[in-house]
Amino acid sequence: MSGRVLVGVKRVIDYAVKIRVKPDHTGVVTDGVKHSMNPFCEIAVEEAVKLKEKKLIKEVVAVSCGPQQSQETIRTALAMGADRGIHVEVSGKDYDSLGPLQVSKILAALAKKEEAQLIILGKQAIDDDCNQTGQMTAALLDWPQGTFASEVSLEAEKIKVVREIDGGLETIKINTPAVLTADLRLNTPRYATLPNIMKAKKKKIANVKPADLGVDLTSRLEVLRVDEPPQREAGVKVETVEDLVAKLKDTGKI
């Protein structure tokens, strides 16, 4: 199988940053906060670049939906080895309400437009933890999906995917074109080397609007309120096992 791979890369608040809820409880503070590429998206980019290095695919296209700053995330993907980028411009209120349903509609439209044979995404984003975009994209395209991939191998016109599931590892074989979502152990993303950073300067990032793709960004969801998790309270010490069981029954835990 040779051809084009679309890789979705999301700009999220950096994993090391301490998240703060906005005083009006409508969301988290993002202004002036360090952002970087979602770690699972980095793994997705790495997998795509590795497939290209093995000459199993021809072109890696990095896609990001968001405001101007999303271009930085695409540039990082280019510096890791992606060939070109597509920035789908979404800003303001549209960006605030952008979720997996809208993104998967955008990716599906792009996949058709670019005649992609494979879409690789991170399994979830570390800001919303939705774990939905990959699955929705596959459904919209009526493509098979290999989610939580910890190992991917291309065999003729099929893809063998080892998936990390609760019970252990599940191996499936799916047809192409397909959607894959990357799990933690799929690979270790490379550092953007200096020569690749220099090469990335010459690579193109195309600008596209969701309307051009015929995508309606209206959200069906409304965020009512965002709160910090409850403060962890001190525990209670008990003398015997019987006391423990009694306490658990009292508080309705068992």
Binding site: S36, E72, R75, Y191, A192, L194, P195, I197, M198
Partner: protein, 405 residues
């Protein structure tokens, strides 16, 4: 900006100066990406092992190779020779982040880039560049720079290492001291006197492979800091090298050394900035967590004033370093600015690491926290590649020249 200046008569010097100034305020995207890559690498691969490398005086061979594949072992070298083909500002940014992770690793990278590859790139023949640069871009091999001797450091013009011609060989005799990377290097640039009567104009530079017969290493110095990098004497006893191994022309050695050190100064300035930043990070983090008198000590003015002073010293040194790098990249004179950068950065490093220990109190004095290592690593930055005293002489010399017109 550019439009306004064109209206003023298109003064080219002003325009490129403005582009340089805007780079001080916001770095170009490639530089931001490189800085981020080096920062990530330092966080993941250097900070976790720095204490161990220091304790064991262990050369970070694995890390140097990885840094080689990232492309930072020969940043300025053009791509056709195996380098990254980037500018000196990029080099300074990379070196600061690496040194923030591990100062020893920083000096190894700095010496290879500025003191070894740098002069060969500037003064070498095409043949010499291929032979002596390309294998040293990947981190597999590193080079070193032998100017100082037991009898002269600051007094570089008094080189007592001698070189005389014997047939189709140069024969070198003498001892070089304090050579960084010596125990791990595969090549060295040696400065030796070829014509004693010409004094400092009679010094020439030579490329010597390592190991090589006639070249031996003294014992590894047991240093206060930057312990993962090796420092030792290089002893030359009838060390024979082909005539082709002379770098630059006969008698140009002193000039080569001085120009090389101008650039090397920016490398050490960047290393010092990294140490200062690491100290500030450590101190600020501690100030937010440690409570005394019922609140984090970061709420106390005494601590706040220290943090402010540290940040100002660091940021001003950083801007001086970037300005010197930008001048060098624009091929403008940068000797004064480089000396100012090295002087302020090294003094900022010793100041910041000193204050960091103070803020950490007893915890700053033990090896559980990195503050003590930063303090030990910082100290050398005021000494090597031109002592703070020499920097002051260089700066004063430049200033007086400017006023003499």
């Amino acid at each position: 900006m550019t439009v306004l200046l064109s209206a003023l008569g298109g003064c080219r010097i002003l325009r490129s100066g403005c582009r340089g100034l805007s780079q001080l305020a916001e770095l170009p995207e490639t530089h931001q990406l490189l800085r981020q890559t080096c920062r990530d690498y330092a966080d993941k691969e250097l900070i976790p092992v720095a204490a161990k490398l220091d304790k064991e005086h262990a050369y970070p061979a694995k890390q140097i190779k990885e840094l080689g594949s990232i492309g930072v072992m020969a940043i300025e070298v053009p791509e056709d020779l195996g380098g990254a083909g980037m500018d000196y500002l990029a080099y300074c940014l990379a070196l600061e982040e690496i040194s923030r992770g591990c100062a020893s690793t920083g000096v190894i990278v700095s010496v290879n880039n500025s003191l070894y590859v740098g002069p060969v790139l500037k003064f070498g023949t095409e043949e010499q560049k291929k032979r002596w640069i390309s294998p040293f871009t990947t981190g597999e091999k590193v080079g070193c720079f032998a100017l100082s001797e037991p009898g002269n450091g600051s007094d570089a013009g008094a080189a007592s290492t001698m070189a005389h011609q014997d047939g189709d060989h140069w024969v070198l005799n003498g001892t070089k001291a304090w050579i960084t990377n010596s125990w791990d290097a595969s090549a060295v640039i040696v400065f030796a006197t070829t014509d004693k009567k010409l004094k400092h104009k009679g010094i020439s530079a030579f490329l010597v492979p390592m190991p090589h017969s006639g070249l031996s290493l003294g014992k590894k110095e047991d240093k206060l800091g930057i312990r993962a990098s090796s420092t030792a004497n290089i002893i030359l006893e009838d060390c024979r090298i082909p005539l082709d191994n002379m770098l630059g022309s006969r008698g140009a050695g002193f000039k080569i050394a001085m120009q090389t050190l101008d650039s090397g100064r920016l490398g050490i300035a960047s290393q010092a900035l990294g140490i200062a930043q690491a100290s500030l990070d450590c101190a600020a983090d501690y100030a937010l967590k440690r409570t005394a008198f019922g609140a984090p000590i970061g709420k106390l003015q005494a601590i706040q004033f220290k943090l402010a002073d540290m940040a100002v010293a660091l940021e001003s040194a950083r801007l001086l370093t970037w300005k010197a790098a930008l001048l060098r990249d624009s091929k403008k004179p940068f000797t004064k600015e480089a000396a100012m950068a090295k002087l302020s950065a090294s003094e900022a490093a010793t100041f910041c690491s000193h204050q960091a220990i103070q803020i950490l109190g007893g915890m700053g004095y033990v090896t559980d926290m990195p503050a003590e290592r930063h303090y030990r690593d910082a100290r050398i930055t005021e000494i090597y590649e031109g002592t703070s005293e020499i920097q002051r002489l260089v700066i004063a010399g430049q200033i007086l020249k400017e006023y003499q017109l």
